[in-house]
């Protein structure tokens, strides 16, 4: 569907405000590790789709487990959000936003913020483990 400008889109082409591909994720606001919430498996599929949860199992559970918390923190880091590991409102607003289908993490190679941190330490800084 092509339109010359925004105002030329007819009402019949507008989606229902609640039927966006990922709008249902707003229902997970405030969820935190340890909880079990109906539909959380779909959020895990989202994170798997974009590389944040590797090695997808045959089906994801609705548990807010360690894998989801780890994925969420890495996503928050990449998108300059507070890395709380909690599904706060600002994180959900970013998650439901339309986006490019190319994964943020490919073959386990993290890009964006988390990747930069790794490359900095290998390139120019000497670190000592404590």
């Amino acid at each position: 569907h092509f339109f010359p400008n925004i105002t030329s889109i007819p009402p019949s082409f507008l989606p229902n405000a609640t039927t966006g591909a990922w709008n249902a994720f707003h229902n997970f606001a405030g969820c935190h590790p340890g909880e079990k919430v109906d539909g959380l498996a779909k959020l895990k599929q989202y994170f798997n789709r974009f590389g944040y949860i590797p090695n997808s199992p045959s089906n994801f559970s609705d548990d807010f487990d360690d894998a989801l918390e780890s994925a969420l923190k890495e996503y928050q880091l990449n998108f300059n959000l507070n890395t709380s590991g909690v599904l706060d409102e600002s994180t959900l607003q970013q998650i439901v936003r339309p986006r490019c289908g190319v994964a943020d993490i490919i073959n386990g190679t993290s890009t964006m913020n988390s990747g930069k941190a790794a490359s900095l330490t290998t390139g120019h800084f000497h670190t000592v483990g404590h």
């Binding site: 092509f2 400008n5 925004i6 966006g20």
Partner: protein, 194 residues
């Protein structure tokens, strides 16, 4: 800026790239012009050139609009959600979701309620061409290669992060006095993602 694993890029022997549109889409000249402008933005800061060709099969870059499962293992999901995807060099495939409401001039100054489902075509085209050339996603919100875009917003000017990244791969434009361009707030739109 980031690159794909292995840092794939177009070889120095093939920096004059051709592109073609999927014939089945029967795109109008005004739609094709959007892509031409998007290619121009990357050509301005690199030694790469982009020329449209009528031969889809032999083109280096193949652009098409498709809906749902279109055979590459990355099905589209209807309106909103994922908008497009493109493959790293030298694959050349660039697919856009045919179910979106693509706007040829998604100028944010004309925002209305209908903008909730309007996606600016040129913004997405500039982003995906970055992937075709070898750039991954960036965490810099102002950059073209940031993964998300808000509906009803327009972001088409390469940021310094984008330019630095692409010039690591290919160098600057030998015909340009400046190796980079400046970004302007005016063309950057009002996206709340940058």
């Amino acid at each position: 800026y980031t690159f794909f694993p292995g840092t794939p890029k177009w070889p120095s022997s093939n920096l004059d790239l051709t592109y073609a549109f999927f014939p089945g889409n029967q795109l109008t000249d005004s739609v094709k012009a959007i892509f031409s402008r998007a290619f121009d933005r990357w050509a301005a800061v690199t030694p790469l050139t982009f020329t449209e060709t009528a031969s889809f099969s032999s083109a280096d870059l193949k652009i098409g609009f498709f809906s749902g499962d279109h055979g590459d293992g990355e099905p589209f999901d209807g309106q909103m959600g994922t908008l497009a995807h493109a493959f790293s060099p030298t694959n050349g495939h660039f697919h856009l979701d045919g179910d979106e409401n693509w706007v040829l001039d998604g100028d944010s100054s004309s925002l209305t309620s209908s903008s909730t489902s309007a996606i600016d075509l040129e913004s997405v085209a500039v982003h995906e061409i970055g992937h075709l050339l070898g750039l991954g996603h960036s965490s810099v919100e102002e950059s073209i290669m940031f993964p998300t875009i808000s509906s009803g917003s327009k972001k088409i000017v390469l940021a310094s992060d984008d330019i630095q990244g692409i010039q690591v791969l290919y160098g600057g434009n030998p015909n340009s006095n400046s190796s980079s361009t400046t970004t302007t707030g005016e063309e950057r739109g009002t996206s709340d993602s940058g």
